[in-house]
């Protein structure tokens, strides 16, 4: 459907503009530039060699630990329970002990301020190669925060949102101590849900206490045995868990690959359920707005066209895209200029753009009524904390401009500008950057395992907090660093960050790009991706 042959030089670097053919072209109202540059062969080989060396050393160290040449720092089983069946499998432990432990300091860094554009971090040191950490008591001030999902900069310790939340906190208290269906349905919750529905442009909405649980506890209410779930291969763990708990059959399509999705849809309807040969009761497609590890944006116009053609239902997880995309922050649906009516289940979280916590589901009134009655979360889980609800209400009103100011709109625009600028500059520097040019999630490829720790540490030395990710969150050779842009980042902050990234990039030789940008759909389509899980 898409072919990318046209290479246009824009502002000094080579950019790919996919030319869309025929009917697909008409679906997009805006250019859709997404790139995943191929891993250079040499880099791939060296990465595998790197893992090989690490594994060999791991075995050597384990051997030494076994013979007590090296002290084993692992926590151990109680003496009384030594003859129980071992609690952990060997490989998992091996990986943690010998690979993860070497670079453990790049994660879980404790902070002690609001997670805004700049953040204060507690200094910690390890005297035993990351087995334990001690806090020096010093605070590293004003680290530029490129790691938090603070897209619209609503993580603030002062301002209207905080004031409103403080007021509600003193009135209502922090907790709720009951579930929605019992005695935990506060007037605040009702107010929030009406606002969310208005914000999304849907008939009705419902809010839940945790974004992860919104997926994992509501998908089982929607589909069950005899239903089919078609899930993107890179979907978030919560969607995967929800799909698994539902008891429906799950089939995986290639990431953002519409041919793969269409083939699965067609096969599913034509062949029906395996073994019984009955037709499927319903088919639910699970996609995310922005994929948090790839920085890609879902090809929503095509997904909707397919969903309509094959009469299936669409579940859109906007955890990262709500607030962060679209001219007025309404998410990926608005970004593509589509109608929210075409998406059956609009799911999203309040954690990211709204600087709060929890998740929501929006859609037709029948859907929400059904969820109010049958959602696991409404029946068994405590409802949202009132001050958190108030934070969402005020920040959402700010985005909608209902607070009488232009602040919200300006933030959405600022984020879009920051995103374009930051991505363009990184590409110019010669890094391999994945994803869509409009996605505020920016993955920078590191590939080699040793560079994961090195990049994280070097950046922290230069007072920049970044997120680095490796296996198992990514495929084994595709380790990466991830930047999350925020409307709160100023141009100066971004420039400082870019300068330092450039320096570290040279130091660690991270500039792999050969300016040969291969769009996703030009990856050969593999017919054998047809996967099925039993339950």
């Amino acid at each position: 459907m898409l072919n990318c042959t046209k290479l246009v030089t824009v502002t000094g670097y080579i950019n790919n503009l996919p030319t869309l053919s025929g009917s697909t072209l008409r679906l997009y109202k805006r250019p859709f530039n997404e790139a995943f540059e191929e891993t250079p062969m040499l880099v791939a080989v060296l990465t595998y060699v790197g893992y090989g060396v690490l594994t060999l050393f791991g075995y050597l160290r384990d051997f030494m630990r076994q013979w007590k040449i090296e002290k084993c720092q692992n926590a151990t089983e109680r003496e009384e329970q030594k003859d129980f069946v071992p609690l952990y499998q060997d490989f998992e432990n091996f990986y943690n002990r010998n690979l993860y432990m070497r670079i453990r300091d790049s994660w879980n860094r404790p902070i002690c301020s609001v997670p805004g554009a700049k953040v204060d971090m507690m200094e910690r040191v390890s005297h035993d190669y990351n087995w334990t950490f001690t806090y020096t008591g010093r605070v590293i001030k004003d680290i530029i925060n490129m790691g938090s999902y603070n897209y619209l900069g609503f993580a603030q310790k002062a301002g209207t949102c905080q004031e409103a939340a403080a007021k509600v906190l003193s009135q209502y208290g922090a907790g709720v101590c009951s579930t929605r269906q019992e005695m935990g349905n506060l007037d605040k919750h009702e107010e929030l849900e009406k606002l969310v529905a208005r914000f999304l442009g849907v008939e009705s909405a419902m809010a839940y206490g945790m974004g992860f649980a919104t997926n994992s506890m509501n998908i089982p209410a929607l589909v069950g045995k005899g239903c089919l779930i078609l899930s993107d291969e890179l979907n978030h763990a919560s969607l995967v868990l929800g799909a698994r708990l539902s008891g429906a059959t799950i089939r995986i399509f290639k990431h953002n690959n519409m041919q793969s999705l269409e083939k699965l849809l067609k096969d599913a309807i034509v062949h029906g359920q395996p073994r019984t040969r009955r037709p499927w009761k319903k088919i639910l497609i699970l996609v995310e707005g922005i994929y948090s590890m790839e920085g890609s944006i879902v090809r929503l116009p095509e997904v909707i066209a397919l969903k309509k053609k094959y009469k299936s239902y669409l579940y859109l997880d906007e955890a990262h895209s709500i607030g962060a995309l679209g001219p007025s922050g309404r998410g990926v649906v608005e970004y593509f200029g589509l109608s929210p009516e075409d998406v059956d289940v609009m799911m999203g979280t309040f954690t990211k753009s709204f600087g709060a916590a929890g998740g929501y589901i929006g859609g037709k009134k029948e859907l929400i009524d059904y969820l109010r009655t049958y959602s696991h979360s409404a029946v068994y889980a405590t409802s949202l904390s009132p001050p958190v609800v108030e934070q969402i209400i005020t920040s959402m009103k700010c985005i909608m401009g209902e607070d009488g100011t232009n602040v919200g709109k300006a933030r959405v625009q600022q984020l879009a500008e920051n995103t374009r600028y930051f991505r363009r500059r990184l590409k110019e520097m010669g890094f391999i950057i994945y994803g869509n040019e409009d996605s505020p999630v920016v993955p920078l490829m590191l590939y080699m395992p040793a560079k994961i720790g090195a990049f994280g540490r070097e950046m922290l030395k230069r007072n920049i907090g970044v997120v680095v990710v490796g296996f198992p969150a990514t495929p084994i050779i595709e380790s990466r660093a991830r930047f999350c842009l925020s409307a709160a980042h100023t141009k100066e902050m971004l420039d400082t960050a870019l300068k330092e990234i450039n320096e570290v990039g040279d130091l660690l030789q991270l500039k792999y790009s050969r300016h040969r940008l291969v769009p996703l759909l030009d990856r050969p389509f593999d017919e054998t991706t047809y996967e099925e899980t039993e339950d």
């Binding site: 069946v85 860094r109 902070i111 609503f154 905080q162 101590c177 005695m183 698994r244 068994y380």
Partner: protein
């Protein structure tokens, strides 16, 4: 010797055939051999090709297929569709649907929800950190308050380590699948709460249900497993076993026989996971839960999980135990790794709640005394019976006899709840997803019976209320905390009593006509 060479043995008969058989015979045989070869190598049944659909047929099939609606319609009068709306704070006095009631419906056991100290701790945190954390624990979502709360919880529970989750439900539901995988065996009480059920489902382990609190039944299953293991020792060496129980059961209101469970644990080498959402901050001299209640070494329990949404009156949950076990969740607990961390203000509220619990250990005795008192007062209402332990802060009222169907029982109990609500007492009907709960067979004791949870929010302990009580009833010393209830007692209990009798009578009539 030569005649014994294999070539000759083979060649000779062929030569003989060729010499003595007539030519047409040879030709026929030749054709037959070719025919056999052809049969061997050709597909006789072209099943595949014949069943292949033409693109046109496929399109027709796609055209034909009609899916079910995404969700079935919900009847407008479904009891769970229209929620009670609570305006204002859900403390011991709440406004439900515009009517002011005394709250017996929230799990605010220690009355910490509207505690001023807790609120001001949360306020201070809000001023410092804002509301959200904007990230999971791994990616700059770990705040110093989280570390402090984990340390405090571990210290309070006297375990090596604690780990916090941002949602109570997700705690045990994530903890179980972190350890128990496909092929492992979990022995679980059939009255286990829904979060445990979901955790088990996510783990895809082999689940064995034992009768509620029936240790003989559990031992029978363990023995069965032991004989099974002897048959296949290689498999048994890698099959992990767990017992999952609740301290104080949410669904039945009674406690698990922990000392017996510990004995079974060591006898059959099974690990114990304990869910303490109701018993944490309630049972035991210092509120440490069921282990303290029974005086059991906490290290004998492999993992304790509880939520911070009941006694602590915050949000979230935690697991505690030895570092060897707990630390594993930091990479394997799905709800921990993949979810944004707990908002700092809620962690700060939980820390302050822990401070209060540590500074006033007598609140647990007071709570217990109140629970026992109420339990006693509720005895003898005809038609309704109180189930569960006398010291359980969540009391369950259920119909002595079912009206015949679950639906009618629900309706009857709903009328009881509505009646109480009208007289200013907020109770709640325990809600279940009946369809879903059937994932695990419902406990026998509960079939056909519905409970009202009378969650005694006995939260009249802290300053302003006590002061008020002292002011009004300065003569009373011992019963000071029960006063509000004492004052309520006459019309409330008699009201229930009368209603109960009516209900029973009505039911008997129905029964009569039915028969």
């Amino acid at each position: 010797w030569e005649s014994f060479l294999p070539s000759q043995v083979l060649v000779q008969p062929v030569q003989l055939i060729c010499l003595y058989a007539p030519a047409y015979h040879l030709i026929l045989e030749g054709i037959l051999i070719l025919w056999i070869i052809r049969l061997l190598f050709s597909k006789t049944y072209k099943l595949q090709e014949r069943s292949d659909l033409t693109p046109k047929e496929k399109e027709e099939l796609i055209e034909e297929w009609q899916p079910e609606p995404l969700v079935p319609p919900v009847p407008k009068d479904h009891p769970a569709l229209n929620y009670n709306v609570v305006s204002g704070p859900p403390t011991h006095i709440i406004t439900v649907n515009g009517k002011e009631c005394i709250n017996f419906a929230s799990f605010n056991f220690l009355g910490l929800l509207d505690n001023e100290k807790v609120k001001s701790a949360a306020q201070a945190s809000l001023k410092k950190y804002g509301v959200g954390t904007c990230g999971p624990r791994g990616f700059y979502g770990t705040f110093d308050v989280h570390l402090e709360l984990e340390e405090r919880l571990a210290k309070f529970m006297r375990t090596e380590e604690a780990i916090i989750y941002s949602y109570g439900f997700a705690t045990i539901a994530s903890a179980i699948p972190a350890y128990s995988k496909r092929g492992d065996i979990v022995f679980v009480d059939e009255a286990a709460c829904f979060a445990i059920q979901k955790g088990l489902q996510a783990s895809r382990s082999n689940i064995k249900l034992f009768k509620h609190n029936d240790m003989a039944d559990l031992e029978r299953l363990l023995k069965e497993q032991e004989t099974e293991d002897q048959k296949n020792p290689r498999k048994a060496r890698v099959t992990r076993r767990f017992i999952v129980v609740e301290g104080l059961y949410m669904n039945t209101g009674d406690v698990c026989p922990l000392p017996e469970l510990i004995k079974l644990k060591y006898k059959y080498k099974v690990r114990i996971f304990l869910e303490e959402s109701l018993s944490f901050g309630v049972l035991g001299e210092h509120g440490r839960g069921i282990t303290e209640h029974f005086g059991i070494n906490i290290d004998d329990i492999d993992l304790i999980s509880a939520n911070m949404e009941n006694s602590l009156a915050s949000i979230g949950g935690f697991c505690c135990g030895r570092s060897f076990i707990i630390d594993h969740q930091r990479l394997s607990g799905q709800g921990y790794c993949f979810s944004a961390s707990l908002p700092p203000l809620l962690a700060a509220a939980a820390i302050e709640a822990l401070n209060i619990m540590e500074d006033n250990p007598d609140i647990f005795q007071t709570l217990r005394a109140k629970c026992e008192r109420i339990h006693e007062l509720l005895q003898g209402i005809s038609g309704l019976k109180v189930v569960g332990e006398s010291f359980s802060p969540a009391l369950h009222l259920q119909l002595e006899e079912s009206c015949g169907s679950r639906e009618n029982d629900v309706k009857l109990l709903k009328r009881v709840v509505d009646y109480c609500m009208n007289s200013g007492i907020a109770l709640t009907q325990a809600r279940y997803l009946e369809k879903e709960e059937k994932c695990l067979p419902p406990p026998r004791t509960r079939t056909g019976q519905i409970c009202i949870e009378l969650d005694c929010c006995l939260g009249f302990l802290f300053p302003q209320i006590i002061r008020m009580s002292v002011l009004h009833y300065s003569d009373f010393t011992l019963d000071i905390q029960v006063l509000p209830l004492m004052a309520l007692k006459p019309d409330w209990v008699t009201g229930l009593f009368q209603y109960g009798t009516n209900a029973v009578r009505g039911r008997m009539l129905n029964f009569g006509t039915g028969e």
